[in-house]
Structure formats: structure tokens, C-alpha cells
Symmetry: C2
Subunit: 640 residues, 2 copies
């Protein structure tokens, strides 16, 4: 029996630690399975009771009269329960109990031991700290989540994987109220074994699932999730993520500028974009975007998205458009404001015209008719459905119209902000990037030598030694204490014109060895960085150089490596490079050379064994022709 079958379609389930006290959470799964019509057998396992909630109770899983595919462990002694599952040949054990990676160092060690034992026993684990699994069409409700108190659960094509167990209930209840139906809902807990990535793989292959929603607090296995997202894309299924931690940007202590500029949220943004995951900004967008993405492919736009807006309420449409503007979305034409007396035919004709325009989507914003004449308001929108998506925002409270739209599979939003968020996310949706292969040999190269090896021009340099500090770099030169960083002034002396002056200044640095470098001048400074991010893996960063750019966090992050074309796109998004793009008639810098350098640095991701933790050129001087690195830092990973 494969994992998907055991997880979602077990022929029988065991509830280890099922409580006979209906007030307890641990009594819920038994009740919910019965209530929602699970067709298999349910075995409560409880050694101190003869019966639980009217069903015969069993002392242990290994003594059950038939084999169960899926056990839900609800007791503290998880280890003992796991041993028994192994003995009984249970394929998958979901664990509600906490006290593992959720409980500090000791808990993490406990979890590691548990996983090791589960592997040995051949039992797959969901959790610990998992609220369980729900398969609505399959009528499996193996969960403690109180959302299952709902009288009926709406079946449909949207599946959810959540790192928050309670939010699974939130999303199901809010989705149900929006007429959204669900296939599978999984609370992953600590992801000790089965994780988000593997579940997305299963959902990509699941014929009942058309859209996959993720509620994330972190990404624990980025490579697996990335591969799963690619599989979902190949299967024609959108993966959408709402991820907490946007405001944590910059909170993590960053050891280099690159770290400070990249921030983990920016890295995650790059990661999601790279593997074709649609990221939404607002919680409700996660649900409400589902009909917009179901059955659609990424538009792969290389320009801003364009919306055509048809409305019966100018003010209402403007609330969405104002927001779209903040997200860089454009209007295909001025808002088409139909008169309040607009007939049905007029509305239909307007939508027809909108769909034939040069737009990427149509927004139908409807006023009071959505509240009082739902059929009249919604019917033209349903009829107008075409290749291009039509989404709606009903300005008043309009439950019936929302229900009609949902039933017809039309994306209808409850707030102007979620509507704009969804459209912006849809337009920014791209197919997953191909991850370039290839291997790069970098040996133990450091600093300038490494960057030269990668193909980045480096200012001519040499090491000069006391007492005479001889060197062959032509004047004028700069001199630095070795390992000194330019921004931390003091150990750097610039514009030295001859050897006499050089000797005096080198001596003043009070170091046996000093770095001598040609003086260079350019039009602007850039920072180019590489980091093997602890969460998402290799990223490349390019930003405007100098103190101000750092203050403004003006940098763009992508997964590494990038091509020169992608690097040019990154550079175009750095605001501060306006200065070398011809802003206010300032002289133009060599953007192509900068892009080449960014792509070169990004290829560190292909270095055998990925030995580099962080690498940074700061500054990279951008000239009218070419670029040159003036300072560089490379940190290799500690030997394992």
C-alpha cells in the first residue's frame, strides 16, 4: 500500500489513545469519522477501557482483529505506540502529540530518535504535532480539528497543506462560507518525516486535486518542495503559498551586507518565484484566488499585467484599481463605468468588449445589483467566461451573488485588497525556471582570485611587504591593511601618487603586508553577493552600492545561478541603478557588464560540493565600459 493510499484512503484506522471523555480533543477523531461517514473500520485503542464512545476498545494496535493502514497517535507515549504500529504493520502513523521538535533541544533529539526508529520499523510518520488528515470526497476525517463540528464538509478540487494545524480549520471554514470545495487537507506538524514537499508531490498526482494551497511558517525541505512544485506545474496544477514572516525581514542577524540586504523573506520570494509557486500577500487571497488559478497556466508575462475594468460603481471599482496601481498592474483602458440603469444586455456587451481588448484579465466590479438582484448581476459574468479570466468584486454585502459566482467557478473577492492581491499574484505567476546543471571547479580559491576565476574583472592588485613595500602596480594606487573592508574606513588610504608617498603611507598602516590596488573610477557602485541561504539554498543578490542603498534595502534577490538575461532583469529592478540607466541625463553605466558579473558570481551555486557560504563584491565599480571589483569577501563553509 503506497503512502497516498494509507494517508488518505486507509481501509481501516486505529485511534491510539482515543478518549472516552467527549470533552477531550482526543475523543474527537472517533466522533468525526463517524459523523462524516468514513466507510472503513475505526478501532479505538485504549488499554484502560473496554469501550470508548460506545465502540469496543482494544488494548494495542498489534492485537486488532484486522490490519489498519493508518494510525493516529493521540497519547504521550508516542514511542511505545510506534513500536506497536511497527509490529502491526501499520503503513503510516499520524501523531497529534507534541513534545518533539516543538519543545526545544531535548525534544529535537527525541524526534530524531523517533524518526530513526520509524524508518527501521517501516512506518511513515505525519507530525508529530499534527492535527491530522482530511479527505472530503473520500470521507476521511482523521483529525482533532474542531472545524469538523461543521454539519457537512464541502467537497471540491482545492487541497491544502498547512504548517499550522488550527489554520487548517480556519481555511476550511472560511472556504466553505465562500462556496469553495476541498479535496484533501493535511496538517503537517513538525514534518519529522512526511513534509510539505512530499505531500505536494502526492497532490500533484491526485486526480481529485486541481489547486494546491500552502499555509507556511517556514520551508523545511526546499529542494523537495521545489521539485514537487515543478511536478504540480507539469500536471497543470497551481501551487499557492501564504507565508508568515514578511515582517521578519532583516530581523535575523546578518553577517555580511548581502545577508542584510537579502533577508530571509526576500530569499523566500525568490525561491517561490523560481519554482513557480504563486505567493499571495493576504490570508483570504489564499482561498479566493483558487477559482482564478484552477485549470490555468502561468501567463509568463515579461511586462506588467493589464486589467480591463467594467463596473456599475465607479467608486467601488476604484478601490480595487487604486490597489492594483500600488502593485504595478496597469489598466488596459480607462474604467468602463456603466450607468446605473445599465441593462443586462449592456453589461454583457461590455464584458464582451472587455474580453476582446488587449488585456490579461477582466475585472467586473458590481454595486447594489449584486445585493438585490444576484441573478441579474452574476449571469452576464458567468456567460462571459472565456479564455481570459473574469474576476469579480461585489462592493456591497452580497452573499447570494458570491455563492452564485462560486458555484460557477468564478473568482469573487470579498475585499478590494484581496481582489488586487490575487490579480497581481496571477500576473506575476511564472512557470518554474529550469535549474541549470553543470559543475564548476573552484578549489580553495579566495577573495579576488576566486572572482577572477569566475570571470569578474578585478582591479590589478598585489601584496607589498615591509620594509620597502616594493610592488609593480602602476600609480596612482590605493593601499589597505590586508582583510580590511573599505566601508570601515581607517585602514584604507586612497589616491597615492608615487612610490615615496606609498612607502610612507604603507608604513603608517603598521602592517608587515599591505594590499596595493590600482585606483579606479566609475559611474556607480554596485554590491553583488552570493549566499547559500540556510532555508532556500543558493541565492544571488545585486544592489546599488554605498551606505544609502544599504539603508534603503535596494537589492534584488534570485535563486542562483542566473543567466545574463535574468541578471539584466534583476538590475532593471534595482531603483538606485536609475543613476546609470540615464536618469536626469546622468552618464549611462555598462549594465551588460554588470549583468555578466552577476551571472558569473551566481555560478558559485554550481561549484562542486557548494563549498562557499557567502561571497560578496562590495563595491563593484560600474564604468561607462566594463565593471571592476574593488573589494571582495568570501566565506567558505566550515568543514563538516
Amino acid at each position: 500500500m503506497n503512502l497516498a493510499q494509507a494517508l488518505f484512503s486507509p481501509r481501516a484506522v486505529a485511534l491510539i489513545g482515543a478518549s472516552g471523555d467527549p470533552a477531550k480533543n482526543t475523543a474527537r477523531p472517533q466522533r468525526y469519522l463517524k459523523k462524516h461517514g468514513y466507510a472503513g473500520k475505526v478501532f479505538p485503542v485504549n488499554p484502560v477501557r473496554k469501550e470508548v464512545l460506545g465502540e469496543k476498545a482494544w488494548p494495542r494496535v498489534s492485537e486488532l482483529p484486522e490490519k489498519v493502514d493508518h494510525a493516529y497517535i493521540l497519547i504521550e507515549d508516542v514511542e511505545q505506540a510506534l513500536e506497536d504500529c511497527g509490529k502491526a504493520g501499520v503503513a503510516v502513523a499520524s501523531i497529534f502529540s507534541g513534545g518533539f521538535a516543538d519543545a526545544g533541544e531535548e525534544g529535537m533529539r527525541r524526534q530524531a530518535r523517533l524518526v530513526e526508529r520509524a524508518r527501521a520499523l517501516g512506518v511513515r510518520l505525519l507530525g508529530p504535532n499534527s492535527m491530522g488528515v482530511i479527505d472530503i470526497p473520500g470521507k476521511l476525517t482523521l483529525s482533532v480539528n474542531a472545524v469538523l463540528e461543521m454539519p457537512a464538509l464541502p467537497a471540491g478540487g482545492t487541497s491544502i497543506v498547512s504548517q499550522s494545524g488550527t489554520m487548517l480549520g480556519t481555511l476550511l471554514s472560511r472556504g466553505a462560507a465562500r462556496g469553495l470545495g476541498f479535496a484533501k487537507l493535511i496538517s503537517v506538524g513538525n514534518e519529522a518525516d512526511v513534509g510539505v514537499g512530499e505531500l505536494v508531490e502526492l497532490l500533484a498526482a491526485d486526480s481529485a486535486t486541481h489547486v494546491i494551497l500552502l499555509f507556511l511558517e517556514t520551508v523545511r525541505a526546499p529542494a523537495r518542495l521545489a521539485a514537487a512544485a515543478r511536478a504540480a506545474h507539469a500536471a497543470g496544477k497551481a501551487v499557492v503559498a501564504y507565508k508568515l514572516g514578511r515582517s521578519a525581514l532583516g530581523e535575523a542577524a546578518a553577517r555580511s551586507h548581502t545577508g542584510a540586504l537579502a533577508g530571509s523573506d526576500a530569499a523566500l520570494d525568490a525561491y517561490f518565484a523560481d519554482c513557480g509557486i504563486v505567493r499571495v500577500d493576504m490570508l483570504e487571497t489564499l482561498l479566493e484566488i483558487s477559482p482564478l488559478l484552477a485549470g490555468r497556466s502561468p501567463l509568463d508575462l515579461k511586462r506588467p499585467g493589464k486589467v480591463f475594468v467594467v463596473t456599475t460603481t465607479g467608486g467601488g471599482a476604484a478601490t480595487v484599481v487604486d490597489r492594483l496601481g500600488m502593485r504595478g498592474v496597469e489598466l488596459a483602458a480607462p474604467i468602463m463605468d456603466l450607468t446605473m440603469a445599465g441593462t443586462n444586455a449592456t453589461y454583457a456587451a461590455a464584458l464582451e468588449k472587455a474580453l476582446q481588448s488587449d488585456c490579461d484579465a477582466v475585472l467586473a466590479a458590481v454595486g447594489s445589483s449584486a445585493q438585490f438582484h444576484p441573478e441579474v448581476a452574476v449571469e452576464p459574468i458567468i456567460s462571459a467566461r472565456a479564455q481570459k479570466p473574469v474576476v469579480t468584486f461585489f462592493t456591497p454585502q452580497a452573499e447570494r451573488s458570491l455563492a452564485l459566482a462560486a458555484a460557477a467557478g468564478i473568482a469573487a473577492f470579498r475585499t478590494p485588497e484581496a481582489c488586487a492581491d490575487a490579480l497581481a499574484a496571477f500576473f506575476s505567476w511564472h512557470a518554474p525556471n529550469d535549474r541549470p546543471a553543470g559543475a564548476l571547479e573552484i578549489g580553495s580559491l579566495q577573495g579576488f582570485e576566486l572572482f577572477s576565476h569566475l570571470g569578474v574583472p578585478v582591479a590589478p592588485w598585489a601584496i607589498a611587504e615591509a620594509p620597502d613595500y616594493r610592488h609593480s602596480i602602476p600609480y596612482p594606487v590605493a593601499v589597505k591593511r590586508l582583510g580590511e573592508h573599505k566601508t570601515d574606513s581607517g585602514g584604507v588610504l586612497l589616491g597615492i601618487k608615487d612610490h615615496q608617498d606609498f612607502q610612507k603611507k604603507a608604513a603608517s598602516l603598521d602592517a608587515r603586508q599591505v594590499l596595493v590596488q590600482t585606483m579606479e573610477s566609475g559611474l556607480a557602485e554596485a554590491i553583488v553577493g552570493y549566499r547559500d541561504d540556510p532555508v532556500v539554498g543558493p541565492i544571488v543578490v545585486v544592489g546599488a552600492g554605498g551606505v544609502l542603498a544599504e539603508v534603503y534595502r535596494d537589492a534584488v534577490v534570485r535563486m542562483a545561478p542566473v543567466s545574463e538575461g535574468e541578471a539584466e532583469d534583476m538590475i532593471a529592478r534595482v531603483k538606485g541603478f536609475a543613476a546609470i540607466r540615464g536618469y536626469r541625463n546622468l552618464p549611462r553605466g555598462d549594465v551588460a557588464a554588470l549583468a555578466k558579473a552577476v551571472a558569473a558570481v551566481s555560478r558559485l551555486a554550481l561549484a562542486k560540493g557548494r563549498p562557499v557560504l557567502e561571497a560578496e563584491i562590495n563595491p563593484l565599480l560600474v564604468k561607462a565600459s566594463g565593471v571592476v571589483a574593488l573589494d571582495a569577501l568570501v566565506a567558505h563553509k566550515a568543514a563538516p
Copy 2:
């Protein structure tokens, strides 16, 4: 009869152009007045009918059997109807018809004529293009807005003034669904006579109104609205604005850098803050914030607001907290995540502890219990109410809990984003500023002379004339073509060391007169600007200087004048000044001198007759001690 009485409590009303065709908008007011129980007499006026919807119709207002206080003009021939209203002594005429300022230049002239005539006749006007007036406790529904199809209207203490007629219905229907009750709702249309400001004045004095909500597309009479907002503050009533046009920032062509940096939305932000109006970012916040503000005064915080979070769902609380972090709100303590088994007593105790902490508000985020045990979930929150506000976010679909909270006057939010928006808006709520009086004499001073007069240090300068370009400024100096701007390089030559060199370079500029200026050096450049904004009036701007700061729009705007203390607060909010605040051990600049200069420039707002349209110092050099203006631009208003 005063305006408030005639608008909201007319003893009788006339409907000029009331239609007998129930399908028409113009038939609605008569039906709605009857339906919602208006106690006064309603006179349909329609010269071509004997009766309208079962009521006797009258040919004209002046022939009615009794005096009406308020007429609603629904026909195209507004002018004729107005004449008749004047003749009949009608106190106020609301005008539904459009074709005035909403219809181009000709319409604007038509509107001006209408207003002039109304003044002569002693009739006050609401509109044109107004959807009318609703007074729910007073049972007046003199409006064409279809929202009045609702079977019953919820009475309460929130009043709305809207520049969008259709959005009035949206807000009423959404508010009703949220258990929010309303007092008065007014659609202002074109504001030809009675405008938002005057209505806020009336609402400030209205005993039925506790909170005033504004849906704005623009601000037409800023001084009046500012005075009204101050009156509302004095009466203990919050004024809240949702204003469209956030993304129009920078769209308006701006003639100077100041204009570009200030943008009209930033100016409006400054305006709202100055007069104590709370600005919300999201549409639903406008409604949902109402219970949070009712009966409260601004906290006038000089530091970030602090929230204490109590929750039964860590993931759910995090959705709000993540957003709060993006808005600069802080947590008073780590999120207090109660166990799922948390009893009622525990929840109450947690809230008690939260309220006693050093926080400004408590957020109670509640999970599934809000859905299935609303009384249990909401009761502790109701009981916990104290001086400090307690707001709630129910993560699941939880209509009953929302209703209970609303009935108890507790702010309950439907989305985490609106919850965070409301808390951030609440914490940023300040009492209106006192507008300093005083008069400044500036004559016709221009450029450097004006800024010197204001008290801003200016780099020593002189005009030198061909052919010998003699001057008395000590070397080194800079030379510029007169009227040349530093950033537009070409006409500026720097670092001239002696008179011989100067003569040569001055001659090379090919101008009879040149400007000579001492060469100055400093730690950073600032831009200080003043503008008499066409919408909100005098504003002052301070931003980091240089091309990059302009690209990043790194500037802070306030209403002018500002004190030196306020100027220091502005400077503290300019990110780029990190460089002179000790960032990365860079040398500190004289922030006090910069603040003095900002305050000095802002006093242009006090100049007699406010002759200055725009004034800008760019750059103002900030030194370790003192500041000095290197370039200045002043534009006076065109003579009227």
C-alpha cells in the same frame, strides 16, 4: 430652520421629478421614505401626472399646500426646480441630477451659475450628483441608493460622509452585516455648496453621532474640513478617512523636486495627521475600526504602539502580528498562546494579565471556539473590557461571535490585515495640531536672499560680471551660470582655486553675469522644500539629497509651519539621514541645525498673503556643525 434640521429632520419633503415608473431610480425615494417610516409629509412633484405611486402629484413646489424644508431634485432642469424652491422658501435642495462639475468645463460653469443663484435665493444645495441623505434613527431615507431595499436599517452611532454615492450603499450594507449601526449617511456629490467639511461640523455637533467615517476621492475644502475635524476632536468624536489615490503618488506632473518628492498622497497623509483624522488603508477597516475609536481619545504616542496578544491559535495570531510588524507596531510581550484545552477562566485570566501589562491595546485572536462556542469565546472578551481597548480577530468563519462582539461594542475584524491596519491607525492617531499664528514679512525676496531672511545660513555668494568677473568671495569658489541648477551639470564649475582660473572658467560659461560661491564641504546633502499644495495648502518637506534619495522618494512631509521639535521628528523619519545619525560609525551631522532650517523654511506658510508657491533648498549641506544652503529656488504665485 437651520441646515442640520432641514437636511436630516425636515418636517416635509418634496421629490421634484418623482417618477411613477417603479423601475426608475427616480421613483425610489418616495418608496423608500414610506418603507422606512418617514414621519413627515412627502410631496411628489411632477407636472405631467396627477398622481405618482398612489400619491397625489403636484405641478411645482411653490404650489404645495404646506412648506417643505428639504426638496430632492431628480430632474434634468435643475435650474427651474431651484427657482421654484427659492420661491417656496425651501431651506435645502439635494440634487441627484448630474451634468455639472462632473461633466467638464461647461458643466463647471453651469454649476457656478447654479450656486450663485442658490445663494441669491437663500437655498442651500447638497450635490449636484448626490445620492441623498439618510438618517436612520430619524427615519429619513431621502435617497436613490438601492441599499434602501434592505428590509430594515440598523441604527447606531456611526455616521458616514461619502464622495461616492454608490459606496454609501456598500458601506451601509457591509456595516449592517457586521452589526454596525448608523446615524446619518450623506452622499455629497459635487459639493457645490454643502461639502464634507460642513457636514463634519454638523456631525460633530450631532448628539446621535459618535464616530464619523469619510469615504474620500479628494479634499475640496481642506481648511473647512480641518476646522471641522478639530471641532469633532473637541466633541470627543473620532474622524476616520479612507481615501482613494494612494497609487496616484507621483502621477501628477511635478514641476520641482519638492513636488515630486511630496506627491499629493503624502501631502494628504500630512494633512490628515495634522487635523487629527485617522487614515485607514483598507476599505473594511473604515467600518471595522469604528467600535475601537468610539468614545476614545487619541493616545498621542511618541513611540511605536505596543500590543499584547492572547490567542488560542498561534498561527492565527501570527497572521495579524506579521502585519503589525510591517506597520511598525511592537509586541508588549511574546504572543500568549493558550492551550487548546484552555478553560474560560484561563482565558479571562490571560486577558486580565494582558490588560495589566505595559501595552496600549490587547488583541484576542480566537480559533475554532469562535465558530462553535461563540458565547464561550466572546464572553471573557466582553467582561475584560477596561480602559485599554481589547480587539478581536476570530480566525474561522464565525458569524455569531462577530455579532456578539458587535453587540457588545467590541471591535472584531474579519481579516488579519484589517485588524492590523486598524491597530496601526489607532496607534498613529494624534490630537489635531495647533496651527501657529503669526505673520511674516517677506516682501519680494527671492532665492538666497529669501532663505537668509528666513534664517537659513547660505554659502557666501556674489554676482561677477564680464569682462573681468571681479568679486570678493575668498577662494576656492564655485561658479555657475545664473539660474543654473546644480544637478543639471554643465553650467556649474567647482573647486576654482584662484582668480586667474576663475576668469577663464567664468568666461567659458559664456554669460555676462555669473554666480560665485564659496566652496563648502559637509557630511551629507539634504533637500528642504516648501509648497503651497493646491489640495491641502502649505506643506514642508525634508529629504535626503542627491539623485538616489530622489529615486527612493525618501522624504517626509508635514503641514507647514512646523516647530523645530516637529522638524527633528521629520528628520528622524528620513531613512537616508542614517548616514548622519551615526550609522556604521559615520561622522554625525548637525541635525539640530537642519531642524532649525526646516522650521525656518516652513514659516513661509505664515508669510502675509502666502505669496510663495514653491521654495526649495537643494542641496542644503549638513556639516558636523551647522548647515549651509548651496542652491535655492523660489517660485512666487502668479499675480491674481
